[in-house]
């Protein structure tokens, strides 16, 4: 018996022109899990297959232990879904809409009304919930979309790009809400994004896909470690002006087993391999008689991760 909320095995989805999912095998445990991939990576396609709405071309999938190919209606009763696109009729109030969606999930009328009031309050919608949604801000609309996914108290919610279109403050509020969905409500979350950075603080685990293929699936902690790089800038040598300081440092660091890439003429990007990476850099620079101008940690954005991959980069970011 496994505790996985989502499990796929060789899941493949081919459209006439593209392969949206390519032999995807992944397991998602309870908690907040990020599904990261650039545009067209196959995130929404995966969600549709998991909901039992589109058949897979090959492979298998399970949600909450139910086969996606045969138990779609049961899965959809236990799972909440927040679509990436707009889905709110403008001439209806949030209350009216969420009550309706609760009933569509099988809740009796009274329970639907009670749960709607509770859920809208939890996502932070108050007096405005009685007004037609056409006049709502993007942030309010995203909250209603989240509320309709939660209103029937599902075991798992699939959130497709919930931060889409939000300003930085709105983004933070939404991410905070998503964190609470698991910590306070006890509901597991699968949330998609194309920005790796924004999920680091929210998710326990990250699944990265590109071109429908699994790039990596691991805990957020190990992920950020592996993708963290140090930006190093050194001074010129005080006497030996002919010495190219960057090249010299790079050679020594590479010899010490670190992965180094130059960026521009003065910067070196060194992959953080552990705490002693800092010491190695400091000692190397001092050993050459140079000074450190800058030593700071940077995070890889998911886009860089993909370029690393397509270049067949020397580093092991994707090894899983």
């Amino acid at each position: 018996m496994s505790t996985a909320v989502i499990k796929t095995d060789g899941l493949t989805k081919r459209f006439p022109r593209v392969t949206a999912l390519d032999q995807l095998t992944v397991e998602v445990q309870p908690g907040v899990v990020g599904l990261v991939g650039s545009n067209g990576a196959g995130k929404s396609t995966l969600i549709k297959i998991l909901l039992g709405l589109a058949p897979a071309t090959a492979g298998r999938g399970e949600v909450l232990g139910l086969d996606v190919a045969t138990r779609g209606p049961e899965i959809r009763e236990r799972v909440g879904y927040m679509p990436e696109h707009d889905c709110l009729p403008p001439d209806v109030s949030a209350t009216e809409f969420v009550v309706h969606m609760a009933r569509m999930a099988g809740l009796p009328a009274t329970a639907a009304r009670e749960r709607t009031a509770d859920t809208l309050r939890h996502v932070g919608l108050y007096e405005e919930r009685y007004r037609p949604m056409g006049g709502y801000s993007t942030g309010m609309k995203q909250r209603v979309k989240l509320a309709q996914a939660l209103v029937h108290d599902p075991k798992l919610v699939l959130l497709d790009e919930p931060t889409n279109g939000l300003d930085p403050a709105g983004r933070d509020e939404m991410l905070g809400l998503i964190r609470r969905v698991h910590s306070d409500f006890g509901i597991s979350v699968l949330v998609t994004t194309h920005l790796l950075g924004e999920l680091e603080r929210t998710c326990d685990h990250l699944v990265v896909i590109d071109g429908g293929k699994l790039l990596r699936s691991s805990s957020t902690a190990s992920f950020t470690e592996a993708t963290a790089v140090l930006a190093v800038e050194v001074t010129d040598h005080p006497e030996d002006l002919a010495l190219e300081p960057g090249d010299a440092v790079r050679e020594r660091l590479a010899a010490a087993g670190l992965s180094v890439q130059p960026e521009g003429s003065h910067l070196l990007l060194v992959r953080l391999a552990g705490d002693d990476t800092y010491d190695t850099i400091r000692d190397t620079v001092a050993g050459l008689g140079l000074g450190l101008v800058r030593l700071e940690q940077r995070r890889h954005r998911v886009a860089e991760l993909f370029t690393d991959e397509s270049r067949g980069g020397t580093d092991d970011v994707a090894a899983s």
Binding site: E77, C87, V92, H100, D167
Partner: protein, 300 residues
């Protein structure tokens, strides 16, 4: 996204924050969800649960269709008439154009809106299937149309009973009227729903349905006129043209089946063969449209 500070404080306020409560009650499943969609759509057809503006047209049409019935009953009672001035099925065919306006404006409310605002995929993320969606929407539109026509018939019948008009005759014709109402609710509605499902633009839907119903009626009128030539009454050979228009088809079939409306120029399905063919046409239109709807939503 930012809320005014006073509202936001409620988020952490002691009074409001009573923590999350799970739901352990019953989950009533697919059939219940389908019924909920039916009820919601039926209400939406009359603007209920939607903005105030959305109620104007449905309520206006309901008034236009029902008030004359009230007036007729009042006149019949006041003058001590022996019969209602207009028979039940005849009342419906007279108001068919008004009922068509309701259909043309509300069928897109039920279908085009869900497409336009992408609510359809959201429904399919719930337990209901695509066939359930079509069933609920179809039933809601037919019901909305039926109620619209049944309302004045009920007024007429209650008036007739109160005014002590011939009870047997009125009961029989009231029931015939209800059958006609059901046919009017089924045939034009099913075609209208196919048109509404074809476009996410409400305006196109309204224009498409109104255009189809109006033009087909005009075409039938012209062809019938040509087919009648110099004769005094419409010959059976020209009655066949009614097949081309949903409203005329229903009118002709009910006239023939129940032999009501003795007026000279009345439309009727020509003879026994006509009744069979017109009935087949009704069945084909309704089931064909239903099949097209199922196909339409298979790929949404």
């Amino acid at each position: 996204m930012s809320l005014p500070p006073d509202t936001r404080s409620a988020d952490t306020g002691v009074i409001h924050d009573i923590g999350y409560r799970g739901y352990t009650g019953p989950r009533l499943g697919r059939a219940y969800a389908t019924r909920s969609l039916f009820t919601q759509s039926l209400r939406a057809a009359y603007g209920l649960g939607r903005s105030g503006k959305s109620k104007v047209l449905p309520m206006l049409v309901l008034g236009v269709v029902s008030v004359p019935a009230v007036v007729m009953v009042a006149i019949a009672l006041a003058t001590g008439a022996k019969a209602l001035p207009l028979d039940y099925p005849r009342y419906l065919s007279s108001f068919a154009p008004v009922v068509s306006i309701f259909l043309a404006s509300q069928a897109p409310v039920l279908l085009s809106r869900d497409l336009r605002y992408h609510t359809v995929p959201l429904y399919f993320s719930r337990p209901i299937t695509r066939a359930d969606y079509v069933r609920a929407k179809f039933a809601a539109m037919v019901c909305a149309q039926f109620l619209l026509m049944a309302a004045p018939l009920v007024v007429l019948y209650l008036g007739a009973v109160l005014g002590r008009l011939d009870f047997g005759h009125n009961t029989e014709h009231f029931l015939i009227g209800l059958v006609a109402a059901l046919l009017y609710a089924l045939v034009p509605s099913s075609v209208a729903l196919v048109i509404a499902a074809a476009t996410p633009r409400r305006g196109f839907g309204v224009a498409g349905i109104m255009g189809y119903l109006a033009i087909s009626t005009v075409v039938v009128a012209i062809l019938t006129r040509i087919g009648t030539a110099t004769e005094f009454t419409v010959p059976d050979s020209a009655q066949w043209f009614a097949l081309l228009s949903p409203n005329d088809l229903v009118e002709s079939l009910t006239n023939q089946l129940f032999d009501v409306d003795g007026a000279v120029g009345r439309m009727h399905a020509p003879g026994g063969l006509g009744a069979v063919v017109f009935t087949a046409a009704v069945l084909a239109m309704v089931s064909g449209s239903y099949g097209l709807l199922l196909r339409r939503y298979r790929s949404v």
